[in-house]
C-alpha cells in the first residue's frame, strides 16, 4: 500500500519520537535561548483493521501504535511499561506477528490487521490462552498480562510455522514445544510480579491442546 506522505515529510515530523531524553537542560553553562523552529505537527489519516473492524484515524505522525490504541481508540488492554521496547507489555499481533507496539508509529500501519488482547477474547468469551492464564494464575498485578498473552499466542504460531529461536537445536525438523523454547520466546515479556513459572505452565497447556 502506498504511503500517503513522502519519506522526507515523515523524517521532518518524527524527529525525537521516542523522546526519552531532554536535550536542552544545561548545567552551569548559560546559552542564548535560540528560537527553535516550530513545525506544526503533521497529522495523517490512517486506516487500521483493528480486531476485525476498520478504523480510520487522523493521527500525529509521532503517535506510536501503542498510543494510538490506548489514547485514541481507548483500547487500553495493551499496556505501556517502558515505551522503549524493553518490557513487552505493549505486545500486539500485526498481520499475525507479534511486535512491540511502542516501537512502531501508527501511521506506518495503513491497512494492517492488528489484533490486541481485546480482539483475542472478552470476559464472556475467553480465548483459550486467557482461560489458561486464569487457571494457572499466570499473573498477579495483571499489567504485563495482555502482552504475555498476545506474545504467547504469537509464539505458538511461530513454533507451528517452524520459525526457529536461539535455543532451537535442529533447524530442519519440526520444533518441539519445550519449556526451553517457550522461555526463550517469551523472554521479551517481563513480569515483575514473577509469575513466570505459572505462565509457562499455562502456555504449555494451551500448546498441548493445540497440538
Amino acid at each position: 500500500m502506498q504511503s500517503p506522505w513522502s519519506r522526507r515529510e515523515f523524517m521532518a515530523t518524527s524527529a525525537g519520537l521516542t523522546g526519552g531524553l531532554v536535550a536542552s537542560q544545561l548545567v552551569s553553562a548559560p546559552s542564548p535561548a535560540e528560537a527553535v523552529a516550530q513545525p506544526t505537527p503533521a497529522h495523517y489519516p490512517v486506516t487500521l483493521n483493528l480486531n476485525g473492524q476498520t478504523q480510520t484515524l487522523e493521527l500525529d505522525a509521532r503517535t506510536s501504535l501503542l498510543d494510538a490504541l490506548r489514547e485514541h481508540v481507548h483500547l487500553t488492554g495493551t499496556k505501556k511499561g517502558c515505551d522503549h521496547g524493553q518490557c513487552g507489555a505493549c505486545t500486539v499481533l500485526v498481520n499475525g506477528r507479534r511486535i512491540n507496539s511502542c516501537l512502531t508509529l501508527a501511521v506506518m500501519h495503513q491497512g494492517d490487521q492488528i489484533t490486541t488482547i481485546e480482539g483475542l477474547g472478552t470476559p464472556d468469551n475467553l480465548h483459550p490462552m486467557q482461560k489458561a492464564f486464569i487457571r494457572h494464575d499466570g499473573f498477579q498485578c495483571g499489567y504485563c498480562t495482555p502482552g504475555q498473552i498476545c506474545s504467547a499466542v504469537g509464539a505458538l504460531s511461530e513454533l507451528e510455522k517452524g520459525i526457529p529461536s536461539h535455543v532451537t537445536a535442529d533447524l530442519t525438523g519440526p520444533i518441539p514445544v519445550s519449556q526451553a523454547e517457550l522461555r526463550e520466546r517469551l523472554s521479551g515479556n517481563i513480569c515483575r510480579c514473577g509469575a513466570y513459572s505459572n505462565i509457562i505452565e499455562a502456555v504449555t497447556e494451551v500448546a498441548g491442546e493445540n497440538g
Partner: protein, 736 residues
C-alpha cells in the same frame, strides 16, 4: 473488634470457601485487558490533557534560569507547572524531599516542571523546549565513603530501636572457638513494577479528585493534603487496579502532585505517567547496604554470639534499611548485638521495597550461616536445625513465637529436594562446562498486623458487597476478601462483590509489609460479624445459635433466606479490627526454607539456576493459588537480587545510570526455572481471627543467600558483593 486473645473456633474454620484455590475474581478483567489502570480511566476524565514531567539534570544545587517561554509557545501546550507558579508546596512527613524542585534541587531527576498539552506527543515535545540552567553543588553519593559519618537512626514503631544488645557479644565472640567475620554489600535496587507511576487529577471546585496507582489510599489522601495544604475531606483518591507496587507506590509521588497542579493551572483534568527511565531517580528505591556479620559458635555448632551491623544511606538522613531485623529472631545464641547506622546521601530517596530490611538482611546473615557451617564442617541444614529457637531470643521465653515452623520447612525441604545427595565439598560436581552446586537458606519475615476497617452490605437477593479502601497490587486481595465474606455469611463466592481502593470507603491497612492480606481480611471478618448480628437481630434470633450457610440463616429449627431477612432496603454493617498488644505478647513472623540447584559456567562465569524449591509456613493459607503466586513471584525477585539487580551510582553526578529495563536487569522467563512452592499446614490463632500470617514478602527473604551458598558449593568461590554478575565470578574461577 479488638483482637486481644487467641482466636477460638469461628466461622472461618468451616473452610467452605476460605482455604480453597479459587481463581482470582478479577482474573477475567485482567486477562482481557478490561481492568482499567490509573492512566487508562478515560471514562472518569474524558477530556484529560497530557502532562509530561521533566526531572532535574543535577543532583544538588540550584536552578539559576528557568525559561518556559519556548515550551509555552509549542503547538498544543496549555501550560507549564514549575515552582514559580505552583504555589506553596510542603514536604509531607512521608517524603525525604519535596516532590517539585525549585529553586533548590535535592536529588537527580527531582521534578522540575510539568508540561501540559493537548496530546502526549505535544507535552513531550514541549518538555524538550524548556530551558533550564543550574548551578551544581558537591554532593555525597558514595555510601562506602560516607560510612564513617553514619549515625544511629531513630527508633520507629514498626521495627523498634535501631540497636539491640543482649548478653555480652564481644566476650562471647572472643571466647567462641569457631568464628565468622564477613562483610557483605548489597546495591541500590529499583522496584521496576511494570506499571509506571501514573495519575489523573481533576478539580471540582475546591475538591481534588485523583485516580492513581497507589498501595495505601488513606496515606495518599493524607500526603496530598499535607503537600498541597488542603483539607483531607476535599481529597478523593481512587486506585482499583495497580500494576505492581512492591513498596514503590506506598506513598504518592510527583505524578499525583503534578497532575493536581497541572489540572489547577489549565482548568481541566490532567493525566501524568512517569516515563520508565524516570522511575529509578525520580521515585524511591531500595537503599544499598554494607553489612558486617559476626558469628561465634562452639565446636558442636551452637551459636554463642551474633552481631549484625548494617550501614545504609539516605537523602536528608531520611530512614535506614533495617537489614538486621531477621538476625534478631532467626537463631538462638546468648550474646547478641544488632546495630543500624545511617549516612546522609544526596542520592534519590531510599525507601521500602518488598520485605524492606529482611530481603537484603538475609543476603548477609544467611550466607554467614553457610560460612559458619563450612568452618564447622557441618551440614548447613543441620546447623540451622540445631540453632532453632521457639521464643524471641532477645526478650526470652516470656515472648514466644505465635507459631514457628522453621525446622519443619528445612526438614521437609531437604527431603523433597534430595539434599542428602548434595556434595559437601565445593567444586566437585561438573556437567560439561557447568559447575553444579546446591545451596540452602532459611527465611524469616516479620508478620505485622495493622488496624483495618470494612463495610459489608447485603441486599434483598442475598448478594454481598464488601467495601474497603484496601488495594490489590497483584496480591489477590479482591479474591481473599470475597472468600472471607462468603465464608462468614454462608453464601457462594459469586454472590460477593468486592469494591476496593476508594478513599470514601472505610480505611483499611492497605498493601505493604505483608500485613495486607491477614489484616484486611480480619477487618472484613469484623464487619461480617456485625452483619451477622444485624441479620439475627432483624430476624429476632439469638446470633449465638444462628448458623449461616447456603444463602440462608437457621436457628432453633427455623430457616430463612438472607435476602428475605435483609429486606428490600438491605442491611449494612461496618467495623474494624484492632490488634491491641498481640504483637507485643507474641513474636509474629512467617518462615520458610529455600533450596537451590544451579550451574556456574566455568568459562564465562554465568550462573544459571536449574531448580528452585521453597517450603513455607505462614499460618492459614486463605487461597493456596494466590498465596503460592505471591511466594513464587517473590522468589523470582530474590533471584534477581542475587544475580542481576543493582542500580549503578555515578558518584560524580549522583545519579543511577542504568535507569531503565534495558540496563537495570530483572529476571525474564529464561532466568526462572519451574519453581516448586510447598506450603506447610499451620494455623496461627495468635495472629488474627483468620489464623493467617503474612505471605507476600516471605519468598524474597533468603532466596538470594541460597544462591550465594550454591555458587560456593559449585565453585568454592565465596561471593559477598551482590549481584553476582559473571564479571564478579570470572576472576575467581579456577583457570580453564
Amino acid at each position: 473488634m479488638k483482637f486481644t486473645a487467641p482466636a477460638e473456633h469461628n466461622p472461618i474454620d468451616q473452610l467452605k470457601v476460605v482455604g480453597h484455590p479459587h481463581d482470582r475474581i478479577d482474573g477475567r478483567a485482567k486477562v482481557t485487558g478490561t481492568a482499567a489502570y490509573a492512566y487508562e480511566r478515560h471514562q472518569v476524565a474524558p477530556q484529560a490533557a497530557y502532562g509530561y514531567m521533566l526531572g532535574s539534570a543535577i543532583a544538588v544545587g540550584k536552578i539559576t534560569r528557568l525559561d518556559t517561554s519556548q515550551a509555552e509557545k509549542a503547538p498544543g501546550v496549555l501550560g507549564v507547572v514549575t515552582y514559580k507558579n505552583a504555589g506553596r508546596l510542603k514536604k509531607s512527613k512521608s517524603h525525604a524531599s519535596r516532590l517539585l524542585a525549585g529553586p533548590n534541587v535535592e536529588h537527580f531527576d527531582q521534578a522540575v516542571a510539568l508540561v501540559v498539552a493537548e496530546t502526549f506527543e505535544q507535552a513531550r515535545e514541549g518538555a524538550k523546549r524548556l530551558h533550564i540552567e543550574y548551578t551544581s553543588w558537591p554532593g555525597r553519593f558514595d555510601l562506602a565513603a560516607e560510612k564513617v559519618r553514619a549515625v544511629p537512626p531513630k527508633s520507629n514503631p514498626m521495627s523498634g530501636p535501631p540497636d539491640t544488645r543482649v548478653g555480652d557479644f564481644e566476650s562471647g565472640f572472643a571466647q567462641s572457638p569457631v568464628q565468622v567475620d564477613s562483610t557483605y554489600t548489597t546495591p541500590d535496587q529499583s522496584h521496576m513494577m511494570m506499571e509506571p507511576h501514573a495519575s489523573i487529577a481533576a478539580w471540582h471546585g475546591d475538591q481534588l479528585l485523583v485516580w492513581t496507582s497507589n498501595q495505601m489510599i488513606a496515606w495518599a489522601v493524607r500526603d496530598l493534603s499535607e503537600t498541597l495544604s488542603i483539607s483531607p475531606q476535599k481529597i478523593h483518591v481512587s486506585s482499583p487496579f495497580i500494576g505492581g507496587g512492591f513498596g514503590g507506590k506506598l506513598w504518592i509521588r510527583a505524578d499525583a502532585v503534578l497532575a493536581a497542579l497541572g489540572a489547577r493551572l489549565v482548568k481541566r483534568p490532567v493525566k501524568v505517567a512517569l516515563a520508565r527511565h524516570q522511575i529509578p531517580n525520580n521515585t524511591t528505591h531500595r537503599p544499598a547496604t554494607i553489612q558486617r556479620v559476626r558469628l561465634g559458635a562452639s565446636k558442636d555448632g551452637h551459636i554463642q554470639a551474633i552481631a549484625h551491623d548494617t550501614t545504609s544511606g539516605n537523602l536528608n538522613g531520611f530512614r535506614e534499611e533495617r537489614a538486621g531485623s531477621q538476625s534478631r529472631l532467626l537463631y538462638a545464641g546468648p550474646n547478641r548485638l544488632i546495630t543500624h547506622r545511617l549516612a546522609t546521601l544526596d542520592l534519590p530517596e531510599g525507601n521500602a521495597m518488598r520485605a524492606p530490611g529482611e530481603a537484603v538482611g538475609h543476603l548477609a546473615s544467611e550466607v554467614a550461616l553457610d560460612e559458619l557451617a563450612v568452618q564447622l564442617k557441618m551440614d548447613p541444614v543441620e546447623l540451622r536445625l540445631l540453632n532453632d529457637i521457639q521464643f524471641d531470643p532477645e526478650k526470652g521465653p516470656q515472648r514466644p513465637f505465635s507459631s514457628r515452623k522453621l525446622k519443619e520447612c528445612l526438614s521437609e525441604g531437604a527431603r523433597r529436594f534430595g539434599w542428602e545427595r548434595r556434595h559437601p565439598q565445593p567444586g566437585q560436581v561438573r556437567e560439561g562446562n557447568w559447575l553444579i552446586g546446591h545451596g540452602v537458606a532459611s527465611a524469616l519475615r516479620n508478620s505485622p498486623t495493622l488496624e483495618s476497617a470494612a463495610r459489608v452490605r447485603i441486599n434483598s437477593s442475598g448478594q454481598l458487597t464488601v467495601e474497603t479502601d484496601m488495594t490489590d497490587i497483584g496480591t489477590g486481595s479482591y479474591t481473599i476478601l470475597a472468600q472471607t465474606a462468603a465464608e462468614m455469611l454462608g453464601v457462594p463466592l459469586h454472590h460477593v462483590t468486592v469494591k476496593l481502593a476508594e478513599s470514601h470507603f472505610p480505611v483499611s491497612c492497605g498493601s505493604g509489609g505483608q500485613f495486607g492480606g491477614n489484616s484486611s481480611c480480619s477487618g472484613v471478618y469484623a464487619a461480617c460479624l456485625r452483619l451477622r448480628n444485624a441479620l439475627a437481630h432483624k430476624a429476632g434470633w439469638d446470633v449465638e445459635t444462628t448458623t449461616f450457610s447456603d444463602g440462608h440463616m437457621s436457628s432453633a429449627g427455623q430457616t430463612r433466606s438472607l435476602g428475605e431477612v435483609a429486606g428490600p432496603k438491605g442491611l449494612s454493617a461496618q467495623d474494624k479490627i484492632e490488634f491491641g498488644d498481640s504483637q507485643k505478647k507474641w513474636v509474629q513472623a512467617s518462615f520458610g526454607a529455600h533450596f537451590v540447584e544451579l550451574g556456574v559456567h566455568r568459562i564465562s562465569g554465568e550462573t544459571r539456576v536449574r531448580r528452585l524449591l521453597g517450603v513455607f509456613a505462614c499460618g492459614r493459607i486463605l487461597n493456596p493459588k494466590t498465596a503460592r503466586s505471591q511466594l513464587l513471584g517473590a522468589m523470582a525477585m530474590g533471584l534477581g537480587a542475587a544475580l542481576m539487580e543493582g542500580l549503578a551510582v555515578d558518584t560524580r553526578y549522583g545519579n543511577f545510570v542504568n535507569h531503565d529495563l534495558a540496563e537495570y536487569h530483572v529476571p525474564v522467563h529464561a532466568d526462572i526455572p519451574h519453581t516448586e512452592v510447598v506450603i506447610l499446614e499451620e494455623l496461627d490463632d495468635k495472629s488474627s481471627p483468620l489464623k493467617a500470617k503474612g505471605v507476600g514478602e516471605l519468598g524474597i527473604c533468603g532466596l538470594g543467600a541460597a544462591i550465594a551458598n550454591a555458587i560456593y558449593n559449585a565453585t568454592g568461590v565465596r561471593l559477598r558483593d551482590y549481584p553476582f554478575t559473571p564479571d564478579r565470578l570470572l576472576s575467581q574461577l579456577p583457570p580453564v
